[in-house]
Assembly symmetry: C2
Homo-oligomer: 373 residues x 2
């Protein structure tokens, strides 16, 4: 009797078997080691929290995407985390409110959503990230993006590319140089995001049409953006993009999509999406945003999240198998301990039936000698 | 306005702040590295599963202790995991059913219960462990316990002690040498577990009274157990205990409590609890058990789980703070990268207002030179 009900996993949830789990552990360590080397302190929020904490501190977190249930202790609604950024924001605004700024924090953990994303049924993902709190300057943006790319490279990602965006672009333009009716702003944003020229004109955004041409490889696109910005409202943002591009241009291919909004609803002046060769979809994204403090005041922040599951799957196929040393029944425990201390992985026989090759061993211990199988 | 509702965490759930999180990461890595060096392959089951999968594969997992909620995709009940052992059992019985035995697996992750344990309100814990599947022999027991103790030592635990138990002792005795009415067996077990001599006699277990004296330091207690075992029914178990004690006696202080049942309800012939100096409560426990396969057949297994949260809290106070190098505004990026490559942790200035000491730095970069602050 195979595959009984008891054996199934719910849709969008998976086990990581040994090769995958080894790749996941290696990628996680590589990323966290890079973040630590740049001064980002790890924090670890709980797996579940009050729904209200998760939902109210930052725009852009949708309670409807979270598994929610009642806490018998408090009779309040709890949620399984779908995003750790908002939890790190809470920590920065409460327990670490008195720490010197800028505050550099990082995190790693599993996040779960109640539904998959579009066609992808995956409901649990590994999220790794870093947040720089108290500063969302151009220097902060450059650091955060450079650290993200270094971390991905250390994890084994190849052929990185970064797509820049300016999430509050339409608001900035509409407020000064290119006024729009308040009710038209959202429509213009939407049509720009959809890259729909006809819809943009119909929404009253004819003047914004040139933005749809300022998309593509960074150097050419930013030039078109500058040409479009006759009023100079965007001059500061354009200079910032150049500074960031100079800093990370050797680490990734750069593109610009200034009016991309999707997924950047809670970002302020700067956003980015990171892609890697051979992987469908983004491997990471980030940008500047505001954290709500204990009261109504906010604090600027900038950070990124990596979702390396696809990278892990791709790397798992080539995950090196460690040499493994079979210890026969009568092995010398001290010799085995010495070999482990210099990096050997051992598998001890428990009975005469233990077969070294079937158990994945590449070598066997013969007295004090290591012999290749 | 401080401490609004939004800032609170539910009872029994906590953030790990930087020092604690660093200690947790170090302990986790140390334990997993030891398990890997002994040939235990990491697996990573999902955070949530069907309640039925979690509850039905092993006795001893109580669905009532898990957060449960309905899956809108399947309309079935899901549960947040409260124990990873049962998930690893599922993996061994399904995806890895065809792998050679013995199968060595390990895991690390957060587990959540709906209620705390007795007076301890903690509802989320870190669980680390290893399972040896397909073999629950004396050799397997010795390996598993030795690996657990080595892992705890590597993690920084001191003054380890191990309390042995024989979970199916009463069943074994009642079946052969010391018959009990079937309805008396459970009562005798309970009174032995409670160490209640009066209750034991009342339950019809007078003959079992000497077991209450066979408790304490291993050498003396096992001698009393042997003296009590006139029929020789326990001879095999007693010899096994001696073999295991010989193997791990140099790693921990050993005690015996042969009739302890609490927490070992699903263990078969052998169980153990691990304590460490300075920590209240057990830091780990383990033993032999049976995994239910896809059908009705079972497979022997032996393993352990560590719950190192208290150890982490204790170690966090002494967690060494890494030397941290302040990079002034005009720092040379190549010099900084070279220093990180040899192990330096850096914190870059983002503005003239960044103050090295407030940011936790111990050194600063002056041109190409590292200067202590």
């Amino acid at each position: 009797m195979q595959d009984t009900d008891r054996d199934l996993l719910p849709e969008g949830l998976e086990d990581r078997l040994p090769r995958d789990a080894a790749a996941a552990a290696r990628v996680t360590r590589a990323v966290l080691d890079v973040l630590d080397s740049h001064g980002y302190d790890r924090v670890q929020p709980p797996t579940i929290e009050f729904e209200k904490s998760m939902a109210s501190r930052m725009a852009g977190v949708q309670p409807r995407r979270m598994f929610r249930f009642v806490d018998p202790a408090s009779l309040r609604t709890l949620a399984l985390r779908s995003d750790m950024t908002v939890q790190v924001g809470r920590i920065a605004a409460t327990a670490l409110a008195q720490h010197a700024r800028p505050l550099r924090l990082c995190y790693a953990g599993q996040v779960v959503t109640i539904k998959g994303d579009g066609l992808d049924p995956t409901r649990e993902r590994l999220q790794l990230g870093a947040e720089l709190i108290g500063n969302d300057s151009v220097a902060a943006a450059g650091e955060v993006l450079a650290v993200a790319l270094e971390a991905l490279t250390a994890a084994g990602a190849k052929g990185l590319s970064v797509d820049f965006t300016l999430p509050d672009l339409v608001d900035a333009l509409a407020a000064e140089a290119m006024p729009l009716d308040p009710e038209a702003i959202e429509a213009v944003r939407r049509e720009l995001d959809a890259k729909d020229a006809g819809g943009l004109v119909a929404a009253g955004g004819q003047a914004y049409l040139p933005l749809l041409a300022a998309i593509g490889p960074f150097a050419a696109a930013v030039e078109k953006l500058a040409a479009f910005d006759k009023s100079g409202v965007l001059a500061g943002r354009i200079a910032a993009l150049h500074t960031i591009a100079d800093r990370v241009g050797s680490l990734a291919r750069l593109t610009l999509d200034p009016s991309e909004r999707h997924g950047f609803e809670y970002q302020s002046w700067f956003g980015f999406t990171i892609y890697a060769e051979g992987l469908q979809g983004a491997v990471g994204r980030g940008g500047s945003y505001a954290i709500l403090g204990s009261g109504t005041e906010t604090e600027p922040a900038i950070g990124f999240s990596l979702y390396p599951d696809d990278l892990i799957d791709a790397l798992a196929e080539a995950e090196p198998r460690a040499d493994t040393l079979f210890l026969p029944l009568d092995y010398n425990a001290e010799v085995a301990a010495r070999l482990r201390a210099i990096g050997w992985r051992t598998v001890a026989a428990l009975s005469a039936a233990c077969e070294p090759v079937a158990l994945g061993c590449t070598h066997r211990l013969d007295g004090t000698e290591v012999v290749r199988l």
